[in-house]
Symmetry: D2
């Protein structure tokens, strides 16, 4: 890292900072410019109390050079991670499609949703039993009852399921029903939950936080991996910006960048990413074109009766058309859908 | 609320939407414009599945008219809420100053910090035992050991303490040691934790989320109040913007606005709000001038040795000067510090 | 539009607002709810002094229903606008590729760039003669000399050119050399410049502002059209967010949405949109997949010698590969590059 | 500056970059870490084509050390700049209050406004003759007729005036009528206009751009100063964020920070900064408390009849009360209003 001294720092201050860095085990390389001094420091910053150095007299700022994450980065593992969920692979040459309703509402709805998404080529069923809602008065999910329905519906059509866990106390219970544990955007910074799912043997689908930087997102994945679970699927779902016409701003460039920085698979959720079902097909194609490893889509048997997120849900006909179009884009890029119809180019 | 129909919506679609609204118990008032139809709907939206209406054919958007929160708003309770913590009052005429280090580091540090902040006029001691850190490799706090030290240090100088709780499983334990439970910015959307502290009999200091809207912040407080705990102190601590020179953008106008919308007390944390100790005194004065009910400040016996947030911490001399200056501003506005030196104007 | 009255508004205040609206020529439809009154107003808001109504006693807010733009919207013109520049069409079935260096640097550079981009399939040459730079000390462009070089280089290989105009005083001069006038992101809110290019007979490429909403962007195009020039090409080039790893956040969903709202063609600039050449190919494919009508790319004969924006420029080899890959995605979607190699599906 | 090489950069690449830097006149100091190499470069970056270095093989990024602005910074001029406009001083111990309507609407309105603001203690009259409006269909100002009325109204009560200039072609004309030239937020990046007002002998009030960083704002001032005009008054007017309850997010911490970085005076516009007249008094007090050198306020004889920005304008009674309250805060801090009633502490 580089310690930048203030332009009015005294020689004595520079020397004290250099001495402190040496005491912390760094090799130091001061560079005395005409107006300002900077001190290069070589060594392992892991665990070093850099915050303290920042507040030593004369210090302006610290510029880190090395990336703050290790396990998620391509430096330690160059090859793409492929995560197996039953017979579905996420990452690598195959594109995985996760589809289903925002929330499990009742038996009819989730069984019908499961049949629809399976028959149209989805690889994994989604459906929420615990819903994080901005208002305490909105529908909060069917909880364990919902988990049971979800599992039974999935079993009927033989498809794995992903569902969200909101609370450290629920990880064990949700793991009994789910094939993949989802950590939602609002919990990306819930470090206790990250550690808890990190101790699970289930793959974790980790959504990017509402306003999380790419680095924070990767560090959240690092929490899970550092706790022992290397099966992390990243999910871009849009970030918060000043734009109000869409629910979020879907950051597809982040997908392209994270694919370069990390070996972990990245899927894209254009439903939450835009909040408008009319935009979902275009953004699903865009996601595949920029290199995403899969899609996460809200599909509801009848969106006009949905208890949550109706406006961003596809109906079965729209979902079928989307699958065909996505297949074409995938095929053009030499990839194929697992259960869908894309053929290698 | 107002349902706005698309400009190509058919008369039949408008009528179906109106019928659905009637079925849900609303009184409806359609207005047929030359280009577009809107439908006014009067009734209680609490619990109504509006998401479904949004996705009915022909609907463009729904414009809510009534505020989505009830308990936190001035409509139901016009007078300012004053929260008593031992002999300290937060809200109303008195300004409360919460001060102390980012983290409890060891016995010497927290005892010294407690003595310093008490002697210089602080009303409440802060100090973290559980630290939510972006990197899994950063110092995560002393946990229960830290809670004990904090309590003992506070008892020695007879000052109440506030400390953060990160996990639903820790609420009971933290409540044994703390006078006020802090929910941090990263957990403002952790609805399970909000409900859990809502069942506690301790006051809750609720920080605004990293990128939370004012409405989301008030709804988070509504979660706590809806769970039974009406002692909520809101804390503005800066929001995430594109600006990089400061850690966050301190939104003092949000304080002025929330004071109009809600009866709850609002304190301001200029330490996290700016991330730069050199800006803290100015922003502390600004916070009081715009109408905040108190301040939350990072004060460390020796910031250049701090294990976290050193760059934004004040040293004892800086804190003393700040208290004097804040007193003058408070006095000019007819308010006074609880333990500080401001005299009524 | 809907006027929302405050919940403490008196009946008299509601009636005064209604009377004022009637005086302004609106038909009014008051809806008296239990807690709040709203007043629907039907009529033409164009030119109406709504700001004044907003500040009448008892008014909380005004909710506009109709879109504020007319000429750019699909309501008045359903079919896609196709803009002809010499023999190149922008909009409709053909994808246009605009490529070239950030700035015209010297004769050798721009002639070489023109030959490269033409030979690799670009339809239009780009190159800046007037550069808007954040620092007054950065290279500001060759001005009229640069315009001449650009024109000559383009003539040699028979390709149209687009170049930026910064100042109302330069519109005439730039029009002598350019086939398309570019209004840059920093001038999207320069309404005088918009009006001035609106009086020109050259097509206008209008970049989205650094932090412009989609509605503001469309209204900027409305300025140009309202001044008489209906040949507007919109260009998405990324917006400013809190993310720092990339220069901007490329908002591809805005492209999909604008294609639904407006008949104007939309091209995407992934070079400025990401600021990193390593991400440009992925985002170019993504842009085409979401429905963009073309691309605007920075291509430099030797990016490591570029006087501006080197880090986001492609070298000739990278540009050639990008054209091949983009062709495949275009082909899969039934579109084709004008001069490139994509075949209809 | 520091050139950070990629962790897979070869020794040869590092050496080539070092050689290029030497060729450009820099002294170089390479630091070879275990995983990455960085190269310190000492010398004058003004005019150096750093963009090119950025794109040399093996380079990851460049970290600038020195501030990119010179003339506006405290390094070259430590003392506060005080700008004299007739007998009003802006900067230093005195606080200047600029007040008046958003737009000059007609003779009665601007004469009445001038009398009101003068009699209540304002130092400078504001009023727009050229209005930059998002929609081409909104009121655009009375242009030269408005300038004349503004000047006459100001002369009657003997008060200087500030008014906005939108177009390089209008600088001369506006200078005939105005004492201070305003460059609005939408033109902060209009570098040609900055240079043109930089050649004027009138002081320039430079508003921060809608989404401008602090560094960009200071560099915009640097443009004006570099063109020869050192009389620049900075004006914070809120930035664009995701929050929708207010028109902008007023960034008072930027005021405190800019006062440390620059010698130029900084005033605050809480009217545009919040968009809500009910918040203006609180934010005006906050602005003074954080160290602003003055205020810019929208005051209208009858806001409910205003042709623009009515909702954020104060009426005469509100403005009078605000002046009293601001005086108290100013007095507590040892400052005083120029024409107002604050007494030194």
């Amino acid at each position: 890292m580089i310690i930048v001294m203030r332009n009015d720092a005294t020689m004595e201050q520079c020397q004290r900072v250099e001495q402190r860095l040496k005491d912390m085990g760094f090799k130091t390389h001061p560079i005395y410019g005409e107006q300002q001094t900077v001190i290069g420091a070589i060594g392992d910053t892991k665990g070093a109390a850099l915050d303290a150095v920042l507040n030593m007299p004369g210090v302006e700022k610290i510029v880190p050079i090395m990336k703050p994450y290790k396990l998620v980065g391509r430096e330690l593992k160059r090859d793409d991670t492929v995560i197996k969920v039953r017979d579905v692979s996420i990452g690598g040459e195959h594109l995985a499609v996760i589809a289903g309703p925002c929330a499990v509402e009742n038996e009819d709805q989730i069984f019908e949703a499961a049949r629809i998404v399976k028959s149209l080529g989805a690889d994994i069923l989604r459906g929420g039993a615990y819903k994080p809602r901005t208002s305490p008065y909105a529908f909060q999910g069917l909880e364990e009852l919902g988990l049971k329905m979800l599992r039974e519906a999935a079993s009927e059509v033989d498809i794995p399921v992903v569902t969200e866990v909101l609370d450290t106390r629920d990880v064990e219970l949700v793991s009994e029903y789910a094939d993949i544990l989802q950590v939602g955007a609002r919990n990306m910074h819930n470090f206790r939950l990250l550690r808890e799912v990190g101790r699970s043997d289930k793959p974790v689908l980790l959504k990017r936080g509402l306003a999380a930087t790419i680095e924070e997102w990767l560090l959240a994945a690092e929490y899970v991996m550092d706790a022992g679970n290397s099966q992390v699927i990243l999910c871009e779902r849009g970030i918060r910006t000043y734009e109000t016409m869409m629910r979020n701003t879907l950051d597809l460039a982040a997908v392209a960048l994270v694919k370069q920085l990390s070996h972990l698979p990245v899927v894209v959720d254009p439903s939450h990413g835009t909040g408008l079902s009319a935009l979902v097909p275009a953004m699903a194609k865009g996601a595949i074109a920029v290199g995403a490893d899969g899609l996460m889509l809200e599909v509801h048997p009848d969106p006009s009766r949905a208890l949550c997120d109706g406006q961003e849900s596809l109906d079965p006909v729209q979902f079928g058309i989307l699958m065909d179009e996505v297949s074409k884009v995938a095929g053009a890029l030499g990839k194929r859908l697992v259960n869908g119809k894309a053929k290698p180019a």
